[in-house]
């Protein structure tokens, strides 16, 4: 998993991105569909985008470092729960 955070000089927003590898794109998609339905608890100042292309990629942007940190932290907690669930109850059934 590679993580990078940098200040985007153009918009003044802080950005962070995570690349999460999965054994298959099916499993990456399962993780995506589990993690994306819930809205960010915070109303403004944060935007999160999760997409899949072979692996799961998430990209954040936030107005403040503190907001970014909270959101990324939450996501990592949630991701680890999803991964543990997949480990214990996977692999996914044949479609």
């Amino acid at each position: 998993m590679a993580a990078a955070g940098e200040a985007n000089g153009g918009t003044g927003k802080l950005e962070s991105s995570l690349d999460v590898p999965f054994p298959s794109s099916r499993e990456a998609t399962i993780a995506l569909r589990s993690l994306s339905p819930d809205k960010e608890p915070r109303k403004g100042g944060i935007s999160k985008l999760i997409t899949v292309s072979g692996s799961t990629l998430s990209r954040w942007s936030a107005d403040e470092a503190r907001i970014l940190r909270v959101s990324v932290n939450s996501f990592l907690d949630h991701l680890s729960l999803v991964l543990e669930t997949m480990e214990m109850f996977g692999p996914p059934v044949a479609v």
Partner: protein, 313 residues
Amino acid sequence: MTVVIGFEGSANKIGIGIIRDGEVLSNPRRTYITPPGQGFLPSDTARHHRAVILTVLKEALEQAGLKPADIDCVAYTKGPGMGAPLVTVALVARTVSQLWGKPLLGVNHCIGHIEMGRLITKANNPTVLYVSGGNTQVIAYSERRYRIFGETIDIAVGNCLDRFARVIKISNDPSPGYNIEQMAKKGSQYVELPYTVKGMDVSFSGILSYIEETLFSMLVEITERAMAHCGSQEVLIVGGVGCNLRLQEMMGVMCKERGAKLFATDERFCIDNGAMIAQAGWEMFRSGQVTELKDSWITQRYRTDEVEVTWRD
């Protein structure tokens, strides 16, 4: 034959239950208990649920003697409740639903309580008093909705009792309400004012007897009013506070006066549990409802009357 697994974790209880056509096959549950004087906060509660949920899930399957392939539907609490714990539970439900290739169903927590109460007690069409730490509502079914006839305008009755228990530092094990009830039993005097100068035991009992008598009388009154409006001859009490025998006693007196029947369940089912979500899920699934993953977001506010009750006529 329809088998539904239900996931519940909207407050400090995490429970996963499996129901097959009205039979509870398993219903394991864990409670996050805080030290006396402290309530439970969302992030700590979520952390507690996170730590045990997969173990409880395994238990539910093992105790039921089932494999994931035997499950027909995965039900989970969509809301209402605390955000962080709701998300933790929804994540696991969504993930196993996809891993096992089974449809998902988001259930309203209050309706879970109602459907469990109906299943266990076989009450036909009761006026429902739903009382817990998070909710206080008087509900009656009418034309595909569980209509809210009366509710608290501020905090739930269980919340009032819990806060009171915190102030006087009663233990939260197994629950503050249970310990209030035990102490109140020893009280024999109804005291007008909340404060009384007597020996420690008597003054506790006096205060707690007062609290219970007053709060429960209020609930009996609004339930009776709803029954009068609906012409109902049955009362069903659900929710954690429904375990309280004094409340059941007081409600029983009112019911007897009206020639009505009182129904209640024991602590296995009136306290939050997974099987109640499975039961509501079973009803919803059999009447053709399913929740798409993109619509499976949890919500802290979810009114009982927002749900279309497609399984009753």
